[in-house]
């Protein structure tokens, strides 16, 4: 690990350090620093800031950026009203890691692409302009949607997928732009020409909280498919929230993990479902729309049929249709 200066923030202003790098749980950043994938000259420890509360109001649930993944998953309101979020968190990492991992850090964790992790290899995300060997190389865990010719990495978070389905907004305190509230689609950017840029956040921007709107109507679930049944990242995951009334789907929110550079949500998939009676044929139509632009790179071709099956299984579970 490269040397760094360590600073402990005692207020938000300290944390908005444009020359420093924020550290919270450290479970991703320390790993990346050990590999010298990240080499921040200054680390700003934000863990003593007052961002550890979950506050409920009439219209939202405000989750402080330092709330740990285990506390969030175990919170009574989250378990009762936002089970898709508890389920997604509990499907991620391990008991030990969830005790350290924070809400803000989880959102900003970086890809698990093997080329990003191997500093002897080119990687446009790590060294802009160096190339992307993943497209013709080891790409089994990589993306099939939202890729660019320069990067096919996936975003690894489970939590963020559930938050995307729940229409969460991220509260950011920026030294330049003031307080902002961004949806996940506004915060995360697609790789395009510069995969090293993953979000619109700038140096010094601090995530202070995540806001969930009122609990959605209907049933919620999170289904994660992975290489082993615990302690493994998603190959494909689906966060689903569906309401059925009088035999018709009235509301649907679907977000996908393991498929794309950010938690993936495509409103046209939901449009296929809303207003219709749930059926196997309808679910296939929704999957057709989701996957119409999907592109595999060899090893990861299997994700396309796997995404279809996982989506259909989730829709069947949420609507009570037997497959």
């Amino acid at each position: 690990m490269k040397s760094f200066e360590y600073v402990r923030a005692s207020g938000i202003a300290d944390a908005q350090d444009t020359a420093g790098r924020i550290i919270a749980g450290g479970t991703n950043l320390i790993d990346l620093m050990k590999h010298q994938i990240e080499t921040p000259p200054r680390l700003v420890d934000v863990t003593r800031l007052d961002m550890t509360e979950i506050e409920q109001s009439a219209h939202s649930l405000r989750i402080g950026a330092l709330v740990t993944n285990s506390d969030l998953a175990a919170h009574d309101t989250v378990r009762r009203d936002y089970p898709v979020l508890s389920r997604a968190l509990l499907a991620g990492a391990s008991g030990q890691l969830r005790n350290k991992a924070t809400t803000g850090g989880n959102l900003l964790q970086r890809t698990r692409c093997p080329y990003f992790y191997d500093t002897t290899q080119p990687c446009n995300k790590r060294v802009p302009g160096s190339g992307c060997p993943a497209k013709e190389g080891i790409n089994r865990i990589l993306a099939v949607l939202g890729t660019s010719p320069h990067c096919i990495a996936t975003h690894p978070s489970d939590m963020a997928v559930a938050m995307r389905a729940l229409d969460a907004r991220v509260e950011i305190e920026s030294p330049n732009r003031g307080t902002e509230m961004l949806t996940l689609d506004e915060m995360y950017v697609l790789p395009g020409d510069d995969p090293s840029k993953e979000t619109v956040l700038e140096a010094g921007d601090l995530i202070t909280a995540v806001h969930l709107p009122q609990p959605p109507k209907g049933k919620q679930t999170y289904r994660k498919v992975r290489d082993r049944s615990s302690y493994a990242f998603a190959l494909v995951s689906v966060a689903g929230i569906v309401d059925v009334e009088d035999g018709k789907i009235t509301e649907a929110a679907l977000a996908f993990g393991g498929l794309a550079p950010r938690p993936w949500r495509d409103g046209t998939v939901e449009d296929v479902l809303v207003g219709e009676a749930p059926s196997d044929a309808l679910f296939d139509k929704a999957a057709d729309v989701l996957l119409q632009d999907a592109q595999g790179f060899g090893e990861n071709d299997f994700k396309i049929p796997l995404a279809r099956r996982t989506l259909k299984a989730v829709l069947a579970e949420l609507t009570g249709v037997t497959q």
Binding site: S3, Y6, I30, K34, A73, R79, S86, L90, G95, L97
Partner: protein, 176 residues
């Protein structure tokens, strides 16, 4: 940097480079070599210790961030000749072969009992809003952050099941 940690009940002052992990402070600065380094990247659980009562991976924790915290390592549970119930149960049930993962397994189980007592659900809990039952399936899921290269899992599970109450588990079955 100068920091103070309360390690197994005693205040310990150490002067460290900010890069030093909690795991390395224990092993290299305090001569507490019970906590093991398996992967050094959060992938195996051999370094599991309790920080303020919660289980974490010592290898992914910078010690400077834990100034003032209370740390419990395997050395804090029992000594040879005076084993804690869980340590004794690991011996009785062959909960290891090489023993390298064992301190991490035991510290992780300690943390897990407490998480049960607090009613935390897991990935395998059917009902998120109910209190969890202390079943083998629950133990396996909750202990998945501790790998055993010798695959002593049956003995590990048995030891954890057997000594649960002695180690403070308050109830096995959720209230009806």
């Amino acid at each position: 940097m100068q920091i103070t940690l309360t390690v197994n009940g005693a205040a310990r002052e150490v002067d460290i480079d900010p890069r030093t992990t909690l795991l390395d402070v224990m092993r290299h600065h305090l001569d507490l070599t019970g906590s093991k380094k398996g992967c050094d990247h959060g992938q195996c659980g051999a370094c599991t210790m309790l920080v303020n009562g919660r289980r974490i991976n010592g290898c992914l924790s910078l010690a400077v961030m834990h100034d003032g915290d209370e740390i419990t390592t395997i050395e804090g549970l029992g000594d040879p000749g005076n084993l804690s119930p869980l340590q004794a149960a690991f011996v009785r049930n062959d909960g290891y072969q090489c023993g390298y993962c064992t301190p991490g397994q035991i510290m992780s189980a300690k943390g897990m009992y407490d998480e049960f007592n607090k009613g935390w659900p897991s990935h395998v809990s059917d009902d998120l809003t109910a209190e969890p039952n202390f079943t083998t399936a629950e133990i396996k899921e909750r202990m998945s952050g501790n790998l055993c290269r010798c695959s002593a899992y049956p003995g590990i599970c048995k030891a954890i099941e057997e000594s649960a109450e002695e180690e403070g588990l308050t109830k096995r079955k959720a209230a009806e």
